[in-house]
Symmetry: C2
Subunit: 234 residues, 2 copies
């Protein structure tokens, strides 16, 4: 795949690129008149002629839409407890790769202090880079909540599954199939508090023990999301 | 968990540590007479008194066995096509974390040149470090074969599953359950050759399409092994 850029705003036949992408244009020595390919993270790839390259933004003219893709199926929202950045980075990348519709980060009761900040911009940049590298041209919606309760209140889902050591074996439970959309919840690396577990239970969550070993949060994330996806795939 | 070491050889009540571990002893400024904890990667944790610390090896005296664990269940052998080291490192670490019994690396027909070397020692060191970090005290058996055919000939398994984009949906197939031991095969990042696919087919492999997106080899590895494990868990 040739180099692909991320276009942050489309207005009629005009395309705007942000500071980060403008920096990438400089790196590849792009000049006005160059034709490049860019995705909007909403399933489209455009061919765009660069018109004006400034210090902080770039403007282009849309030549044509060269690809248009439906949103990733099935519809899965992944919830994850805020953890140290190195783990979060991995989780954001894997969300794009696995094709979740939304990634909801919440500050868990036991989240490591310092990993509790809202870092949506960092998540977004990471997701954009992951999107360019994978062939997935849908950017997950990303949001941050100060606690799990608020995060769950704002989400809409039919089935709720949770990675938890004391849970049940997943295959027996998932083979019957879940109802879309599915919310898949992984705690922070430090785990869930009792209060959070109670909250999830009250909302009818299915607790799944993904492995006989203790999995790292990012491994549990991949496994749970893959189970969720496959359980509702048509 | 306190710092744990890896003891490479046990002979009656004498424990030998290799050069790498001897280096670790130096780092933590261990001296003769110190009592440390070490695992043999075969399910045991020992309390050991250090006796003699040399440049390239260390000798100790076993004080007692403080933990003894059965091998990880269920019995899954993971096969993986040799790929660039950064990916292989991750795969080796995840093998330990997920608790596979054996990890078989094979040089795939399409394996990236340079990733085709037998690097068992590097794999082994990585696995030992991963073992120390996780709570899994079983080291997977590790082997390397110059091609998939030889690798499969030397392995014993009852069920054979393969990660492959053109395969079937996993949940429907796995819910019926597999028969232990299971061999789970992931190609190199570059994929399988037609000849390799034919070989797998002739051996009765079940081809599974793990995702509607194209997964990276290391993501496919985690998902396939997790499916294999859960499919035969009692």
């Amino acid at each position: 795949m040739p180099h692909i850029f991320y276009v942050s705003e489309i207005s009629e036949d005009t395309a705007f690129f942000d500071e980060e992408e403008t920096h990438h244009f400089r790196v590849v020595r792009a000049v006005p008149g160059d034709i490049i390919e860019a995705t909007d993270g909403k399933g489209r790839i455009y061919r765009i002629e660069l018109v004006e390259l400034k210090k902080r933004w770039t403007r282009g003219r849309i030549v044509e839409i060269i690809k248009e893709e439906a949103p990733p199926e099935p519809e899965v929202t992944a919830f994850v407890g805020a953890s140290r950045w190195q783990r979060m980075k991995f989780v954001v990348e894997k969300s794009v790769e696995l094709g979740v519709r939304s990634l909801v980060v919440f500050k868990g009761d036991l989240s490591h202090p310092g990993s509790e900040k809202e870092e949506l911009d960092k998540y977004r940049r990471t997701a954009i880079e992951a999107m360019k590298q994978s062939r997935n041209i849908w950017l997950p919606r990303m949001s941050f909540y100060p606690n799990l309760e608020e995060a769950l209140q704002k989400a809409s889902y039919e089935s709720l599954i949770v990675a938890e050591m004391t849970g049940e074996k997943p295959l027996q439970k998932l083979c019957a199939g879940l109802v879309q959309p599915v919310a898949a919840v992984v705690g922070p690396q430090e785990g869930f508090s009792e209060k959070e577990k109670e909250l999830l239970k009250n909302r009818g969550a299915l607790f799944l023990n993904l492995s006989q070993n203790i999995l790292r949060m990012e491994t549990a994330f991949i496994v749970l999301v893959a189970f969720a996806m496959n359980s509702v795939r048509k």
